[in-house]
């Protein structure tokens, strides 16, 4: 799931919202420290949704009661990841949610070792 959902917007049904995506990604996020958010970064909420939040932010906080990856949030909200990222950055810096990095690929043994093991086994 990489954010491209071709069958999510059937041609018959126009988008159900009069507001556009650029309204969601306002400019002030530029000033904030940019956290690296991956598609597989897990987001979990740290607080109850508070009524002052925008609906999208509140929805993220509410649904991330259980950890969800950025890709999943994007799918549930039907928002592109690039729109989601500034929102999540904002929520992160407000301490509303917490981001957990995914399993780093480097923690897995690299191919060289595995090959060495294989050769060792073959020599047995």
């Amino acid at each position: 799931m990489n954010g491209s959902r071709p069958d999510n917007e059937p041609g018959a049904e126009p988008p159900g919202n009069p507001d556009r995506l650029y309204i969601l990604s306002t400019a002030e996020t530029r000033a904030r420290p940019r956290t690296h958010l991956d598609l597989v970064t897990l987001i979990v909420s740290r607080a109850e949704p508070d009524p002052g939040l925008q609906p999208e932010h509140a929805a993220v906080v509410r649904m991330c009661d259980f950890p969800l990856s950025v890709a999943e949030i994007s799918a549930y909200l039907e928002l592109p990841v690039s729109t989601l990222t500034p929102m999540l950055t904002e929520l992160l810096s407000d301490g509303k949610v917490e981001a957990r990095p995914p399993v780093p690929a480097a923690a897995l043994p690299d191919v060289r070792i595995l090959e060495a093991v294989m050769h060792g086994l073959q020599k047995l």
């Binding site: 009069p18 507001d19 650029y22 999208e56 259980f66 549930y76 690039s82 086994l121």
Partner: protein, 502 residues
């Protein structure tokens, strides 16, 4: 007239005047007869009598003519009076025609009455001669026809306007839809996505212009919404159609929805007001947008910290806003103030109440009151995006903030039964199903692998107490390969940090 009037009483006297000359002549003649010798008396008598008769005849004729002239004068005066009276009547009638009849006819005609009826009603058969009324009718008729022709021309122009606007709207709408799809498609590429948002914004501005043209042409703005839309999204929709939407602060919004048919007018009117607010205030100031519940509906307030309204500007805006119905494109003037005209049009059509007043910040405070019949309860409080079907299925409720990623005591076990105890009193792990990621730390793994490659016995896995059985090292090795390192220096290897991240 005056002369004839004053001469009338003297007429009997003047009739007697004509007797004077025959009488004088007769006296003279008698005197002459008496004074001449009797021999000449007979011719003198004849002459005197003839002269007297002749003068008498002349006098009689003159008197008769005088009478005729007097009669003619009288008739002339009467006629003149009649004409004068008629002239006055015509004067009055023409004025009435100009002042009352024509405006009344135009008013009737604007209401859609047929020409014949208008003519009949406005120019009733008068007591004057019929020709005059007929002429008036003809004038009314031709004026009405001319006006109708003009109106038809203007209607055609409006229709052309609306037609063009409709086509533009269709294109813009299709483009918005395409861009939206592209935004979803390229959601992972921030550069492309940013550009798409830019395009989307430009497209929205174009769409607003097309909507304005359609509204000024007497049509409805934009697309129709089938279901109600939460006010929050409506306000954001309005924000998204102005150039400087980043300067608008959306504050508390009443939790209601706007009924479908009124969504687009509200969005459009608010977008025009927001556009005014951002355009006529310094670029570093913010524009505040709130919506509150009031007795007569919902009041949306737009407050800017701009230059404010001068008295003249305020009179002008009030005049534009209060203008009923027929908007003239001429009114828009040199620098077209489309915005307020559009807002006024929409307000008249949909019964919004719009007022522009000085703000406490020094700028303008625009209030748009949406009447209660256009407001309904919000189906999904908190906006459309928060509606239930889009949210993930309910999961086990955890306390917010707990991190469920920490492995519990037996995360790898296939069943929650406690692990069997080994010989040394240490828990023994079961064999896993299928291949599992190797839970080594990188350094340890490399060392172990090197040992394995060199065919040496992995040192840590050799049990110390029991006597080493031949071939046991291999069992230990294979079990290690399978991720089942029981012990390392007497404790389970599952504490290896990389193991947590399964």
């Amino acid at each position: 007239m005056v002369g004839t009037g004053s001469s009338a009483p003297r007429r009997p006297a003047s009739a007697l005047i004509w007797l004077i000359s025959p009488l004088v002549l007769a006296v003279c003649a008698v005197t002459a007869v008496l004074s001449v010798t009797p021999a000449a008396r007979a011719p003198v008598i004849w002459c005197g009598a003839a002269a007297t008769v002749a003068v008498g005849l002349a006098s009689a004729e003159a008197a008769r003519r005088g009478r005729v002239i007097a009669g003619l004068r009288r008739r002339l005066a009467e006629r003149e009076a009649l004409l004068q009276r008629r002239l006055d009547q015509h004067d009055a009638e023409t004025w009435r025609f100009a002042r009352d009849v024509l405006p009344e006819a135009l008013k009737l005609m604007r209401r859609g009455a047929p020409t014949d009826q208008v003519v009949r009603v406005t120019v009733p058969a008068h007591e004057l001669e019929p020709g005059f009324s007929a002429a008036h009718r003809a004038v009314v008729r031709s004026v009405i026809e001319a006006v109708q022709q003009e109106e038809a021309l203007r209607d055609a122009a409006h229709r052309a306007f609306v037609n063009i606007a409709r086509r533009m709207q269709a294109i813009v709408h299709q483009q918005a839809y395409d861009i939206r799809e592209m935004e979803h498609k390229h959601g992972n590429n921030p550069d492309v996505f940013g550009d798409l948002l830019h395009l989307d914004h430009g497209n929205a501005l174009t769409g607003r212009l097309a909507d304005s043209i359609a509204v000024l042409g007497g049509s409805r703005p934009g697309r129709q919404w089938r279901s109600e839309i939460p006010l929050y999204n409506v306000l954001r929709g309005a924000m998204s159609r102005i150039l400087e939407y980043r300067r608008v602060d959306l504050h508390s919004v009443a939790d209601v929805a706007v009924v479908g048919p009124a969504v687009e007018p509200v969005i459009h009117a608010l977008a025009e007001l927001l556009d005014n607010a951002t355009r006529y205030s310094p670029p570093q100031t913010r524009v505040h947008l709130t919506a509150v519940d009031i007795q007569s509906g919902i009041a949306v307030e737009i407050e800017d910290a701009g230059v404010g309204l001068t008295d003249e500007a305020r009179r002008r805006t009030d005049r534009v806003l209060s203008k009923e119905g027929g908007l003239d494109l001429d009114d828009l003037g040199e620098s077209p103030r489309l915005g307020l005209a559009v807002v006024s049009r929409l307000a008249n059509t949909y019964d919004f109440i719009v007022s522009l007043r000085p703000s406490a910040y020094g700028g303008v405070r625009a209030v748009l009151v949406i009447p209660p019949n256009l407001i309904t309860a919000s189906r999904f409080p908190g906006g459309d995006i928060a509606r239930a079907p889009k949210l993930p299925p309910a999961k086990k409720k955890r306390r917010p903030g707990s991190i469920p990623l920490q492995p519990s005591e037996t995360p790898m076990m296939d069943s929650p039964v406690p692990p069997p105890m080994g010989d040394g009193g240490l828990p023994q792990r079961r064999r896993r199903r299928g291949p599992a990621p190797l839970p080594f730390g990188r350094g340890a793994a490399a060392e172990r692998a090197r040992n394995a490659a060199e065919g040496r016995t992995p040192a840590p896995s050799v049990p110390e107490e029991p006597p080493v059985q031949p071939g046991m090292w291999l069992a230990a090795f294979t079990s290690g390969i399978n991720g089942e390192l029981h012990e390392q220096n007497g404790r389970p290897i599952t504490d290896n940090p990389s193991d947590k991240e399964e």
